[in-house]
């Protein structure tokens, strides 16, 4: 198989994973745990690409993830794109400064993102929505942050497996010191 085919396959796999993870959050979680706060499962895909891909590829994936997520929320597409690009920007800023390689770093980045999403969504509603949000759900915010971080650990290995399967180099597990 040619390298281009593997690359396209890699993109397709990650988009499919984003769909499955977003569906898990919107549908399966509802049937199992009801309205208990759910982890932002799909954000793991975005974080993985923000940490271990070039900036161009990360931007493309953030759009693809946004299109996926926009189908499962009442939020306008522009808001979802805005949230994902902001998360991407923050992770890219942190990538070479405080984040290091390995699953711990991935979990930390996922946790940070889950904490950033509601804040950005809340702030963006003042520019995008006819009626901006007027209540911030703190309990939900903290729980989702913790759950997303915990939930991202198995996904890190799953994503690495997908990378190996599609002939892309998975992230190295070696831990280094905080720069």
């Amino acid at each position: 198989m040619r390298e281009v085919s593997y690359r396209v396959l890699n993109y397709l796999f990650f988009v499919l994973l984003a769909e499955l993870l977003a569906g898990f959050q919107a549908s399966l979680w509802l049937h199992v745990f009801g309205y208990f706060p759910s982890p932002y499962a799909w954000v793991a895909v975005l974080i993985y690409w923000a940490l271990y891909r070039s900036i161009y590829e990360a931007i493309i994936m953030s759009y693809l993830v946004s299109f996926t997520v926009a189908t499962m929320t009442g939020a306008p597409l522009i808001s979802v794109v805005g949230v994902n690009l902001t998360v991407l920007g923050i992770i890219l800023l942190l990538r070479n400064r405080i984040l290091w390689s390995g699953p711990n770093s991935f979990m930390l980045a996922a946790g940070i993102s889950a904490l950033v999403i509601p804040i950005v969504s809340f702030a963006l509603s003042y520019f995008v929505d006819r009626r901006p949000a007027d209540e911030f759900y703190y309990y939900d915010w903290i729980l989702r942050g913790l759950l997303t971080s915990a939930f991202s650990l198995p996904l890190y290995y799953l994503f690495g497996f997908v990378d190996r399967m599609t002939q892309r180099e998975p992230p190295k597990d070696t831990e280094s010191e905080v720069v």
Binding site: E19, A26, L28, H31, Y40, I78
Partner: protein
């Protein structure tokens, strides 16, 4: 141009061009073409998850029942245990039957053309309140159609796919429903405020509204029947200046408690106030 390197320009273009096109497409009411395949995929995935979940739940129930039978076998005779398990299953069936009978009874009593639907998903973001149901354009669901439970209004359809629909709950801040105060017939627009509260806007300062009043649908738009309960007034206040008053309403339906809903395919201009009075 030194500070604007080629890389910066490419990144800026990568961000700006899609954002611009997304923004342009948002001005039209229809679903952007770019989202069509994603809607198709998410619709299939959510339906799949829901079916999987229902299947797992029934299998788990069956498995748990079996464990119970085994445990009881150690103490009681097998026949008795089986009988008890059977009785338990019957009770569950009876409860389900009662619930479904209520739905059926409600459907029979009205002239409205109703479509029963299962809730298969909820909103991914905390500050938007939508649910997804397993009925779509193939079942006759159209944008704007009202969605109700037996005891009150749930929301209305905003995004329709062939086999699923997204329902905007009345608690969402972007949701609006034409409403009246049942007792005084004061008219206003109900808007979502947060997860468990709505507010009534455009209600005159002189209008008679009290805490505990029932808010019902006006039925003007034919998306909802006239006189169907929306909520109960929890707070009424007036600013020192201004033409209106601040009325907060707690919806009678909590989406978290729902499994099935009805989509109103045609409200037939029905007045449910008489029906409710008869029922009471």
């Amino acid at each position: 141009m030194n500070f604007l390197s080629r890389k910066t320009l490419i990144v800026a273009a990568l961000i700006a061009i899609p954002l611009f096109s997304v923004n342009m497409q948002l001005r039209s009411k229809s679903t952007p073409w770019v989202l069509m395949p994603f809607y198709f995929a998410s619709s299939a995935i959510q339906n799949g998850y829901a079916k999987f979940s229902f299947g797992v739940r029934s299998t788990t129930d069956l498995y748990l029942n079996l464990i119970n039978v085994k445990k009881e076998n150690r103490i009681l005779r097998q026949k008795l245990a089986e009988y008890e398990a059977q009785q338990g299953a019957n009770t569950e069936l009876k409860l389900e039957n009662e619930r479904l009978n209520k739905l059926l009874d409600f459907r029979r009593k009205t002239n409205m053309h109703l479509l029963a639907a299962h809730i298969i998903g909820r909103d991914i973001f905390t500050d938007y309140h939508t649910i997804t149901i397993d009925r779509g354009s193939y079942d006759g669901v159209k944008r704007g159609m009202g969605v109700i439970a037996i005891n009150g209004v749930v929301g209305y359809a905003i995004e329709i796919e062939p086999h699923t629909s997204k329902i905007l709950l009345i608690t969402d801040r972007n949701a609006v429903v034409d409403a009246i105060v049942q007792r005084s017939r004061a008219h206003g627009i109900l808007q979502g405020l947060n997860r468990d509260t709505c507010e009534i806007t455009f209600i005159k300062r002189s209008d008679d509204v009290k805490v505990g009043d029932t808010i019902i649908t006006s039925g003007l738009d034919n998306y909802f029947p006239k006189g169907f309960p929306i909520g109960t007034v929890t707070s009424v206040s007036r600013d020192q200046y201004g033409l209106g008053q601040n009325v907060l309403v707690r919806p009678v339906v909590d989406a978290a408690d729902l499994e099935e809903v009805f989509v109103i395919l045609n409200a037939n201009y029905q007045n449910l106030e008489n029906l409710t009075a008869e029922g009471n």
